[in-house]
């Protein structure tokens, strides 16, 4: 099994098992297309969530400038928690 080229490894194994011939190839291609659509849709959804979170973060930062100094510590805690959430959600 090679290092670093997952696609080549998958295709080599698929070929060894006869998955790239005849009706098996048809099943291979159908699944590739359907799974690719799912993956792309999922990634788009995740990116939208991140964009939303970043927009929230930016709004919070803008709000900090308008706050009295005594409130800044509380806001900072909220921002750090939000940043922490974002970090945990990015695999």
């Amino acid at each position: 099994m090679g290092e670093g080229d997952l696609l080549a490894d998958v295709l080599r194994l698929a070929q060894r098992e006869g998955a790239l011939e005849g009706e098996a190839l048809e099943a291979f291609l159908t699944a590739l297309r359907e799974r690719a659509e799912l993956i792309v849709a999922q990634r788009l959804e995740e990116n939208a969530w991140r964009r939303e979170s970043m927009a929230g973060l930016e709004a919070e930062l803008r709000a900090v400038a308008a706050l009295p100094v005594t409130h800044v510590r509380q806001v900072r805690r909220r921002l750090l928690a939000l940043a922490d959430t974002l970090r945990r959600e990015v695999p």
């Binding site: 099994m1 490894d9 998958v10 291979f28 291609l29 699944a31 359907e34 690719a36």
Partner: protein, 292 residues
């Protein structure tokens, strides 16, 4: 005799909290019983009252720990549990009655009330093929019914069947998909997993695994899923479709945890190979465990 096997990894507090409910349910089962706590990593100071402590110095995860407990158990029935499970008192008695009433069962699985389950109950499972891969779905029901596999946090089975099946496959260690794999191997032999909603357990949910970083969990999830398909599927078209799905992940996913998990699966599979084809077909198993 029922042997409850409870693997734990540094779960002293959870055991203190949940073991009394397990012991109470066993006491109300109508059978003799024991509790074997498998100490994965050997970090517990001493055995809990009324339990037998089985220290495993090298922590290898859930599957190997349960296998060690099953090998050391004295009972003819195995109650496999997580360390963060609270049983309602009639649960073990009800599971036992059902298991002993039918020779065609591998395991009886209770309703598992859990915050992790979308529908609130992760005990019943169905399966279908979606975009090249077997997709497992929650399948709660007010009535008993076949389930795709017994979720590893709580089920009752005959010890001899567990051992004849070879127990959990270490290839999946430290966690994820080993219970799916075991249930599938049982189905292959025509032995059903049976969801019994009248038996209820409460699961805190991933108390041990949940402490691991998300990237590690994602990697283990994809590694286990790929291994399950590679090791078990026999149908030529289903296998080809699963390769198509992995190719899509390799091309389009891009998350290192996912691609690393798949690469690990290929490496592990290379040393293990596909299982024998004897028994029910993949289509028959999916028909028996799918939902319309």
């Amino acid at each position: 005799m029922i042997s409850a096997v409870v693997p734990t990894r540094g779960g002293a507090e959870r055991l203190r909290r949940y073991l009394p409910s397990v012991q109470a349910s066993l006491a109300a089962s109508g059978d003799t019983w024991e509790v074997v706590v498998v100490d994965d990593g050997a970090t517990l100071a001493s055995a809990f009252p009324g339990t037998r402590l089985l220290p495993v110095p090298e922590a290898r995860g859930y599957g190997p720990a349960v296998n060690a407990g099953a090998a050391a158990a004295a009972g003819d029935l195995l109650l496999v549990l997580n360390d963060d499970v609270r049983l309602e008192e009639p649960a073990v008695r009800r599971m036992r009655e059902t298991l002993l009433s039918r020779a065609d069962l591998f395991a009886v699985a209770p309703a598992i009330r859990s915050p992790l389950a979308g529908c609130g109950d992760e005990g019943g499972k169905s399966a279908r093929v979606k975009a090249g891969l077997i997709q497992i779905e929650e399948a709660p029901s007010p009535e008993p019914q076949a389930t795709f596999y017994p979720v590893g946090c709580c089920y009752l089975c005959r010890r001899v069947t567990f051992l004849e099946l070879g127990g959990y496959d270490d290839l999946y260690a430290p966690f994820f998909w080993e219970d799916v794999d075991l249930g599938y191997r049982a189905w292959r032999r025509g032995l059903a997993s049976w969801y019994l909603p009248a038996a209820v357990c409460h699961h805190e949910g991933s108390a041990t695994i949940g402490q691991r970083p998300m990237a590690e969990r994602l990697r283990a999830w994809h590694r286990g899923g790929a291994l399950f398909h590679l090791r078990n599927l026999q149908d030529r078209r289903l296998r080809a479709a699963s390769f198509g799905a992995w190719a899509a992940y390799a091309l389009f996913d891009g998350r290192p945890a996912v691609t690393e998990g798949l690469a690990e699966a290929l490496r592990r599979f290379a040393g293990a190979g596909r299982r024998a084809a004897e028994g029910l077909s993949d289509a028959e198993i999916l028909t028996r465990t799918g939902r319309p």
